[in-house]
C-alpha cells in the first residue's frame, strides 16, 4: 500500500467539506476522484497533498504518517501535486520553473539543469524552454506544472484537473503524457470533472458528493451507480457554476 487515507474529515466551522473519506492506493495504480463541483474532492485532494490539515483522520504514505506534515515535507516524501488553476512561476522561464522542481533532489545547478532539460523534453515543452511561463496558454501551463512536479521525482503524483479545459487534440496528447509518466512507475491520483478522461485513464474511481464518498470501484460501474448519476444530474445542476474549494 503506497497511500492510505483513513476516515479523513475536514470541517470549515460547522460545515464538513469532507466527511470520513477512505482511500487506499497501491503502487502503480491510477485512481480517479470524481464528483460535481463543491463535492469535496478538491478539499480531500488538498488533504492528501498536505495543503490542508484534516480535522480528523489519518493519512499514511509509504509507511510514514503524513497527516500533519507540511506541503514541502510531502514533496520531499515523494508526493507531487498540480493545481486546479495553474500556479506556474509566471516571471520565470519554463526551464527555470522546472529547475525549481529539479533542485529538490539535485542541489547542484548543473545536475538540476540537466534533469530539467530531460523533463522538458519528455513533456514536450522543448520549443518553449526559454520562454517565460506567463507567455504559455493554459494548456501549456498545465503541462509545465506536470513537468515541474515530475522533476521532483515523485512516487505519487496528484493531478488536480490537469486535463480540464483542453481541446480534443490537446486532451489526447495530455492523456498520452499521463500514460507515459505512469509507465515510468509513478502512481497517479487524478481529480477530474470530465468523465471521459477518468474512463480512459483510471482503473479505479471514487465518486464524491457533499463531502461523502458515495461510490467506488471500476469506472464503468461507478458511472452506472444511481447515487453518482443523481449527484451529477440532479443536485449537481444548481451547484454547477460554483467553484470547488
Amino acid at each position: 500500500m503506497l497511500l492510505e487515507a483513513h476516515k479523513v474529515s475536514k470541517a470549515f466551522g460547522s460545515f464538513f467539506a469532507v466527511r470520513e473519506a477512505d482511500l487506499s492506493v497501491d503502487e502503480g495504480e491510477i485512481v480517479g476522484l470524481i464528483g460535481p463541483n463543491g463535492a469535496g474532492k478538491s478539499t480531500f485532494f488538498n488533504c492528501l497533498a498536505g495543503d490542508t490539515v484534516p480535522t480528523e483522520g489519518k493519512i499514511v504514505f509509504a509507511g510514514h504518517d503524513m497527516t500533519d506534515a507540511s506541503p514541502e515535507a510531502h514533496a520531499r516524501a515523494g508526493i507531487g501535486r498540480t493545481f486546479q488553476v495553474p500556479a506556474t512561476f509566471e516571471d520565470m522561464t519554463v526551464l527555470e520553473n522546472v529547475m525549481v522542481g529539479a533542485y529538490l533532489r539535485h542541489p547542484h545547478h548543473n545536475d538540476a539543469r540537466d534533469l530539467a532539460r530531460q523533463t522538458i523534453e519528455l513533456t514536450g515543452l522543448r520549443t518553449q524552454t526559454d520562454l517565460p511561463a506567463r507567455s504559455l496558454g493554459t494548456p501549456g501551463r498545465k503541462r509545465l506544472e506536470i513537468a515541474r512536479v515530475l522533476a521532483t521525482a515523485p512516487r505519487l503524483m496528484l493531478l488536480d484537473e490537469s486535463l480540464a479545459g483542453l481541446t480534443p487534440t490537446e486532451l489526447k496528447e495530455a492523456i498520452g503524457l499521463v500514460r507515459k509518466i505512469h509507465e515510468k512507475g509513478v502512481t497517479i491520483v487524478i481529480v477530474e470533472h470530465v468523465m471521459e478522461v477518468i474512463m480512459t485513464l483510471a482503473r479505479r474511481v471514487l465518486a464524491f458528493n457533499q463531502g461523502h464518498v458515495i461510490a467506488s470501484g471500476k469506472p464503468e460501474e461507478v458511472v452506472r451507480d444511481e447515487a453518482v448519476i443523481d449527484a451529477y444530474l440532479g443536485r449537481g445542476r444548481h451547484t454547477h457554476r460554483r467553484r470547488s474549494t
Partner: protein, 323 residues
C-alpha cells in the same frame, strides 16, 4: 546557465574605478561616495525585498544598528570604530530572526508592518537612551589616531572601500541568482503555495534571505558612520533611510542584479540636485518627490526601469543585453 554579459560589467567596473580620477573635486567625490553607499544598501535590501518579494519598509533598523555599533565601541572603549562592525552585524542578525520567524508565517503585509513598527520603535528608543547619546547621538574620533580609525581628510579612500564592498555584494548576489537559493527566492516571490508543493522550505529560505540582507545593510550603516564620524537616531533609523533603499531598488528594478545600481544612479544625482536647488528646505520636497515616484512605480511599472527597458528596447539591443 546564462553567461554574464562581460563587456558591460567590465565597462561599468572600469568607469567606477576611474570616476574619482576624472571628477576629483570634493563635490563630485561626495556624490560618488553617496551613490555607492546608496547602491550598497539598496542592493542589500534587494535580496529580501526584490528577489524574495518580502517588502521591508523598515530596513533602517539594520542600517542604524550597523551605524551605531562602531561609534558606540569608540565612545565606550576607545576602540577603532571598525572593531564595532561585527557587533552591528550580530545584533542585526538577531533582529532579523526576531522579526522573520513570526511574520514570515503570515502574509507579506504582516512583515511590512512589523518592519516599519520595529524601525520606529528602535528610533524612538534610541532617542531616549543615554548610553547611545539619546537624541544627540554619537561621534567618532575627531582626528585619526592611526590608519585603523579610517578617518581620512579626503573622501577618496572611502570611495574605494565602498566600491569594493559593492563589488563583493553584487558578485555574491550574482552567485545567488545562479544557484538553488536564488531560484528558490524567485519561486517564493512568484507563488509560495506552488513553491512549497515543490519542496521549497519557504520559511527557512525567507529567513536566510532576511539575515543575508540584514548583514549587508548593517555593514552599509557601519561604513556610513565610520565615514561621517557621527550618528543620531534620525540618520540611523529614520524613515528616509528605509525609504531610500526601497525606492532605489524599486526604481531600477527590484529583484534584478543591477536594479538598485541603476536606481541609485538616477536617484542620487536627482536628490543632490533638488537639495541644491531648494537649499535647506529641500528635504521636504525630496520626500514629496520620493512619494510621487514610489506611487508611480507601484501603479505603472512595478518591475522598475529594467522591465520598462526590456519592453521598449529594440529587439537587437535586447538580445545583446540579455544576461
Amino acid at each position: 546557465m546564462k553567461i554574464p554579459a562581460v563587456t558591460p560589467t567590465t565597462l561599468l567596473a572600469a568607469g567606477l574605478l576611474i570616476y574619482p580620477l576624472i571628477f576629483s573635486g570634493p563635490f563630485y567625490l561626495d556624490i560618488g561616495v553617496t551613490f555607492l553607499l546608496a547602491a550598497i544598501s539598496a542592493s542589500a535590501w534587494n535580496i529580501v525585498g526584490g528577489y524574495a518579494g518580502q517588502v521591508s519598509v523598515g530596513h533602517a533598523m539594520f542600517f542604524g544598528l550597523g551605524a551605531y555599533a562602531p561609534l558606540l565601541c569608540y565612545t565606550l572603549f576607545q576602540w577603532a570604530p571598525i572593531a564595532g562592525i561585527p557587533f552591528g552585524i550580530v545584533f542585526s542578525i538577531a533582529l532579523a530572526v526576531l522579526i522573520g520567524i513570526p511574520t514570515f508565517r503570515l502574509t507579506g503585509h504582516y512583515f511590512s508592518m512589523a518592519t516599519i513598527a520595529v524601525a520606529e520603535l528602535i528610533r524612538i528608543y534610541f532617542g531616549t537612551w543615554d548610553l547611545v547619546g539619546a537624541a544627540i547621538g554619537l561621534q567618532g574620533p575627531a582626528t585619526a589616531r592611526g590608519w585603523w580609525d579610517l578617518t581620512f581628510r579626503s573622501e577618496l579612500p572611502y570611495y574605494y572601500i565602498f566600491l569594493a564592498v559593492l563589488a563583493v555584494l553584487l558578485h555574491l548576489t550574482f552567485l545567488i541568482e545562479h544557484r538553488r537559493f536564488g531560484y528558490y527566492l524567485r519561486a517564493i516571490k512568484a507563488g509560495e503555495r506552488a513553491a512549497r508543493s515543490l519542496g521549497v522550505p519557504v520559511q527557512q529560505i525567507k529567513i536566510k534571505a532576511l539575515i543575508l540582507s540584514a548583514v549587508f545593510t548593517s555593514l552599509a550603516g557601519s561604513l556610513y558612520s565610520v565615514k561621517t564620524g557621527f550618528i543620531d537616531p534620525e540618520s540611523g533609523f529614520g524613515i528616509l533611510v528605509s525609504v531610500q533603499m526601497v525606492i532605489i531598488a524599486a526604481l531600477g528594478g527590484a529583484g534584478k542584479l543591477y536594479g538598485p545600481f541603476v536606481g541609485a544612479l538616477i536617484l542620487i544625482p536627482l536628490q543632490t540636485a533638488t537639495n541644491t536647488w531648494f537649499g535647506g528646505g529641500g528635504t521636504g520636497l525630496t520626500f514629496i518627490l520620493y512619494g510621487g515616484i514610489i506611487v508611480l512605480i507601484a501603479r505603472y511599472e512595478p518591475g522598475g526601469l529594467f522591465e520598462l527597458w526590456e519592453r521598449i528596447a529594440p529587439r537587437g539591443w535586447r538580445r545583446k543585453n540579455a544576461s
